[in-house]
Amino acid sequence: MESPAIKAPGALARFFDGDVWHSFRNSPMAVVAAVIAALCLFSAIFAGWVAPHDPFDLASVNLSDSRLPPAWMEGGTRKFVLGTDDQGRDILSAIMYGARISLFVGFASVLLSMVVGVALGLLSGFAGGKIDALIMRVCDVMLSFPSLLVALLIDGVGRAIFPNADSTLAFGVLIVAISLTGWVQYARTVRGSTLVERNREYVQAARVIGVKPSRIMFRHVLPNVMGPVLVLATIHIASAIITEATLSFLGVGVPPTSPSLGTLIRIGNDFLFSGEWWITIFPGVMLILIALSVNLLGDWLRDALNPRLR
């Protein structure tokens, strides 16, 4: 999984040094998951080049092609390998473009909740006292509600405040809604590690030679608490993507002009009873593939980085 590399290039060498790379090579499950995740990521990022059709190019979409079954079924054509939806759009291409939107929202939400969580966790562990107590109480309240409810509520409030939001704003509200449910875990993890790190000798030494507290926090303590955060982020990606898909399926996620996997499943759901199962099932399979492969990678990474399991 590339996420650790993207977020902390400095840690790249330490992450993929001997031990971890060796454990990866010796875990067939991790290799398979990595290959699937890489394929999904590739087809999503380069959807514009790899996809056989452009589902949003109205000139190329033909209504007479609508509701065609997949190529291997009777009535299917090789032009549309996974069939077409009710408006004649190619399902395979729609999935690639949809996965791009799903992955974008997922990654952006994880990044945002990571930044918020790490910052608050550092502050909480470093400042202690009332600030610490306040942040931890907020965490407790957030944790006592299911994240889906919190995301729905924030999304609903966002809709009420900006009734005529354009699609950029709608994406922003969605990403904030998903992020605000995810930062708590980062904050707790980082706070725990910070409490340990701040009494270490190198922090005391830095303090003695007069380094500013903010610099100690970000330059000295932060790199040393990032390990568990990156593992958390990998596992969080899958859940963020599923939350996005769920919100979009419920009709409160991404704007309808840019359908994600969840939107595609929602649209296809209406055609389930008329027998056109492929419109909803294939996007579902893609969603499961992404979620499972990322989860398996996260599990592997957690074990590989856990010194007690070596």
Binding site: P146, L149, I242, A245, N269, I281
Partner: protein
């Protein structure tokens, strides 16, 4: 024990007040009730009059107290979208959600605990490996996909079960129930299974892990040495000691059950509170959102309290008062 209960009650009260405050802020800052009630062409005098009538000119704490007072009486105002009282809407929808959630919880417990025990006792057997793999899928699959797959197989392809709504319901003095008709039961099957899958998988894995842990302890060896039959050792000694974490998780997950019920209700068009809430979110219907939020929080708080009290019933160690230090 009394001190413990009182402390938990105080905590619950603080949580409820926090949630009420969030709901109140929703009313305060999202949308303008005066504008939506009077329309565009009201004069400033009319606005002021209505403001005073609604108590919106009072200081903040007074307004909040008023809001809490109304909420305690179940009065959350009028739905912006449907123009009906929010309390009526919620009361109409409550039975559907509660019946669905209870059915799902029962399925999850009745299937999850025995399967978990089986997977722990017959570790490594084919059956338990199948159970573990399926449960891993159950934890990672999104709820709405499970629902869609069930509809595709059992409603569309096999045509065995209905997949839309609650079917025939019987009204018992304000409470509508689907438990009293065959049609109601048939409609309940697929949504209840969908909603229970995640909990079931979670309970299965938890019971298995706890059982494996307990079976390694000395008192199990001792019970065996006393010559007790396997059944007594497994169910009398081992299972009983795994129940504390199972109760905790099931209790805490009841909240998740309500949250996931939103999805299940959307997939199956089940006329419960979740569907009401989703429509409220789609149309920014603040009174309904606020009422749902307060109600869910109340259910949460009650369940958490009940879970804490159940500990005392299940784990005798907790009933002994902690000895005061210094003796």
């Amino acid at each position: 024990m009394l001190a413990f209960i009182l402390r938990r009650l105080a905590q619950a009260l603080v949580v409820m007040l926090t949630v009420a405050f969030i709901a109140f802020m929703l009313f305060q800052y999202v949308g303008d009730p005066v504008a939506s009630m009077l329309g565009q062409d009201a004069t400033p005098e009319q606005r002021e009059l209505l403001r005073a009538e609604l108590g919106l000119d009072k200081p903040f704490p007074v307004q909040f107290a008023r809001f809490v007072g109304n909420a305690l009486q179940g009065d959350f105002g009028i739905s912006l979208r449907q123009g009906r009282k929010v309390s009526t809407l919620i009361v109409e929808r409550l039975p559907a959600t509660l019946e669905l959630s209870i059915a799902a919880a029962v399925v999850a417990l009745l299937v999850g605990i025995p399967l978990g025990v089986y997977a722990a006792l017959r570790r490594g057997s084919f059956g338990s490996q199948v159970a573990m793999t399926v449960s891993l899928l159950g934890v990672s699959l999104p709820t709405f996909l499970i629902g869609i797959l069930l509809i595709l197989v059992f409603a569309v392809t096999l045509k065995w079960l209905p997949s839309f709504g609650r079917g025939d319901v019987v009204s018992l003095g304000g409470w509508t129930t689907g438990f009293l008709s065959v049609d109601g039961w048939a409609h309940l099957v697929l949504p209840a299974i969908t909603l229970s899958v995640f909990q079931l998988a979670l309970i299965l894995r938890l019971v298995r892990a706890e059982m494996l842990e307990v079976l390694r302890t000395d008192y199990i060896k001792f019970a065996r040495a006393r010559g007790l039959p396997n059944r007594a050792v497994y169910f009398g000694h081992a299972l009983k000691n795994t129940l504390v974490p199972v109760i905790t998780i099931t209790g805490l997950q009841l909240g998740a059950l309500i949250a996931f019920a939103i999805i299940t209700e959307t997939v199956f068009q089940w006329p419960g509170m979740g569907l009401l809430f989703i429509q409220a979110v789609q149309f920014a219907d603040v009174p309904v959102m606020a009422a749902y939020l307060c109600l869910v929080a109340l259910i949460f708080v009650i369940v958490n309290l009940a879970v804490d009290l159940l500990y005392f019933a299940v784990d005798p160690r907790l009933r002994i008062e902690k000895p005061a230090g210094g003796h």
